[in-house]
């Protein structure tokens, strides 16, 4: 019995908790990508850089708050900075939409054009972020480091294995839950949210029933920008803020959106967790777990990894490619191109 609990704790500590945190970050990112896709009908390659921009604003405001001596005690200061960064990212997105995307909407450009335009936006925001904050690594996490420490968990339960929950992981999960509930409430209950869904279902019908397309697009950008800023800040809190990681994060996010079914908000959330958990479960070294579960004579010698840890990120691309090949509509049947 103890052995099973120990084994479960190991999995919980190294797979479940990191997976929940990473999965929520991906889910928030994928939700933004999916919303932009379903309303504006293109894959937004600039989404990673939007996250980067939001995270950068959080970093700057956090540093300023820290120097002013304002903090949240145990919680990271970045939570106070978050509203500012959301606002800033929304303004940036609306500005970009006004200057760049609106023209292509009016000329009804094909969606390949949007794709390439979003790459231009990606370069521009990426350059802007590096220009403002520089390319180096910034750590802006403060407050207490852990909610539960590995050692106190051991003392509490009397198990051999510790279970540590980092503060950033807890904050990530809590924020993600609140935000996801808010977004779904908005999409399903409010008039604006309903008009948004109608617009994404059938543009012409929505126009006929008197929905203002510019307003729908604006609201989409507001939500997508807010989600990007939150996801970026949470990722930065959990790992650290480095401008170039966000381009690498873009593919797992696309993978999450596609696995869930592009255009389906529920799918985006599910996809985020599918990607996060498969990355962790497949590269996890099962040696310790099996040592607990199997009789001593069968205890494994090697690490018992299905795939070495270096391939962690590559794995999400592999899942992406496989899903694209055998089920391009994704798990929750989103739109196909």
């Amino acid at each position: 019995m103890m052995d099973i609990l120990n084994a479960l704790t190991v999995i919980g500590n190294f797979v479940l908790i990191p997976g929940l945190a990473y999965g929520s970050q991906l889910a928030l990112g994928a939700l933004g990508v999916t919303l932009v896709y379903s309303v504006l009908r293109f894959s937004n390659f600039a989404h990673g850089e939007m996250m980067s921009f939001g995270a950068m604003l959080s970093v700057l405001v956090t540093f300023w708050l820290q120097s002013a001596g304002i903090g949240l005690g145990l919680l990271p200061t970045a939570l106070i900075a978050l509203p500012v960064s959301i606002l800033g990212t929304i303004l940036l997105c609306l500005l970009i939409d006004r200057l760049v995307y609106r023209y292509y909407r009016q000329t009804r450009a094909p969606n390949v054009t949007y794709l390439i335009v979003s790459i231009g936006v990606m370069f521009t925001i990426g350059g802007l972020v590096r220009f403002i904050i520089g390319p180096s690594d910034r750590i802006f996490t403060d407050g207490s480091r852990f909610i539960i420490k590995a050692r106190s968990f051991k003392e509490m339960t009397g198990l051999n294995e510790g279970l540590a929950i980092k503060m950033t992981q807890g904050v990530t999960l809590a924020t993600a839950i609140v935000i996801v509930i808010a977004v779904f409430w908005f999409l399903n209950k409010t008039r604006t949210g309903k008009s948004m869904r109608a617009y994404s279902d059938n543009e012409d019908l929505a126009l006929l029933s008197g929905i203002n397309p510019e307003r729908v697009v604006m609201i989409t950008w507001v939500i997508a920008a807010a989600l990007a800023a939150i996801a970026g800040t949470l990722y930065g809190l959990d790992k650290s803020f480095k401008p170039f990681t966000f381009l690498q994060l873009l593919l797992p996010i696309f993978a999450a959106a596609i696995v869930g079914g592009v255009g389906s908000p529920v799918g985006a959330i599910a996809g985020g967790f599918v990607i996060a958990f498969s990355e962790l479960f497949i590269t996890f070294a099962y040696k310790k777990v099996l040592t607990y579960l199997l009789p001593e004579s069968l205890a494994p010698e090697s690490l018992m990894q299905l795939l070495s840890t270096e391939y962690k990120i590559a794995l999400s691309f592999i899942i992406l490619v496989i899903v694209l090949l055998i089920r391009p509509t994704g798990l929750f049947s989103g739109k196909t191109l």
Binding site: L115, G127, R130, F131, L251, F317, V321
Partner: protein
Amino acid sequence: MFAMMAALLAIVGIFQSWNVALTIVNLCLISSIMTLGVNIQWGYAGLVNFGMMGFTALGGLAAVLIAMPPVPEAWAAGGSGVMAGLVIIIATAIVSLLIWKQLKGRGAKRYWLTALSIVIGVVIMRLVADPSIAAIESVESARTGYLGGFGLPVTLSWIAGGFVAAGAAFVIGRISLGLRSDYLAIATLGISEIVIYVLKNEDWLARGVKNINGLPRPVPYEIELQASQWVVQLADMLGASVVDVSTITVKLSYAGLFTIVLLIFLWLSEVALRSPWGRMMRAIRDNEVAANAMGKHVTAHHLQVFILGSAMVGVAGAMLTTLDGQFTPASYQPLRFTFLIWVMVIVGGSGNNFGSVLGGFIVWFFWIESEPLGLWFISTITAGLADGSALKTQLVENAAHMRLMTMGIILLVMLRFAPQGLLPEQKR
């Protein structure tokens, strides 16, 4: 336009140094070949391939495999094991494909059996190959620790790079060309990342992140040139230092070789564009349904053009590795090797080969020169600010990152006001 480009390069030559100018020229030439590759995919056929980086890296791998001397100790230690592993993986792929094809329309059974055969194949492969890989990697791991290449002249690798990339493009194209624009873009981007991860982690193949240095060169070394009589005389005649003359000679000979390759590709692309084949490609691009109705096999032709374009990028990748004299998998970034090439094609003019070449030159030129230009610009506008003020240090420090923003803005402006590019496609 081309004259203006030459003038710009001459300005760099005069004001910075001819050495810098020639470095830029060499990379411009390579970039132009890559843009030609993208152009025949995007400009002729309308395919969005964001996997350029992968094909570049595969070309670089070909350069290593062709030109580096073999490592007999490593072959003795584990060559047979690795080869057996490769055979097993190919057999697995064939068997899985057969199962996949045979079980069409059998529902979930098809997925499970295919997945099972892949898993079994991978497990057998790892059992066979893992000890050999470990053995290979432990052969003098500081210096070699990989199988080495064939020890052939490095220029041969340019052709080989084309073939390696073409082979990869065949496989990638077969699996992903059924997808439409957005998905194809994301899938190819993902696949190119997978290629880079494999190159980074499979040390037995090309040492992974430990890199490979000192690839043989197709041109003489500077040191040899400095010892030879005619270089010394030439330096005397020009009144320049022997070192300068020798490095410039080396770079000029590279530039000569690259120009020959570029001209061959340019000629081939132009011939293809004007041929019935080119007309058919444009027909497919402009209206797939109509072309299909006319009896043209759309997917097969997409595959053709995908392979041809990727092969060109592979050649360019091999040339790039030859020029650098080293193979560093970690240096392959999508921003530089995929998206920047796309900026070149769009700016130059998609569908026009000369436009693509021009785009390659201009964009690479500004990619390199926007650093000094940005610094100059920033220091001019901040000249009024006091030295040591926080804003000024910040601006001057980060001026180097202007180039990303510059590229983005150039791309956006071009797309908005001149979507045809600098040299638009000719109507025929």
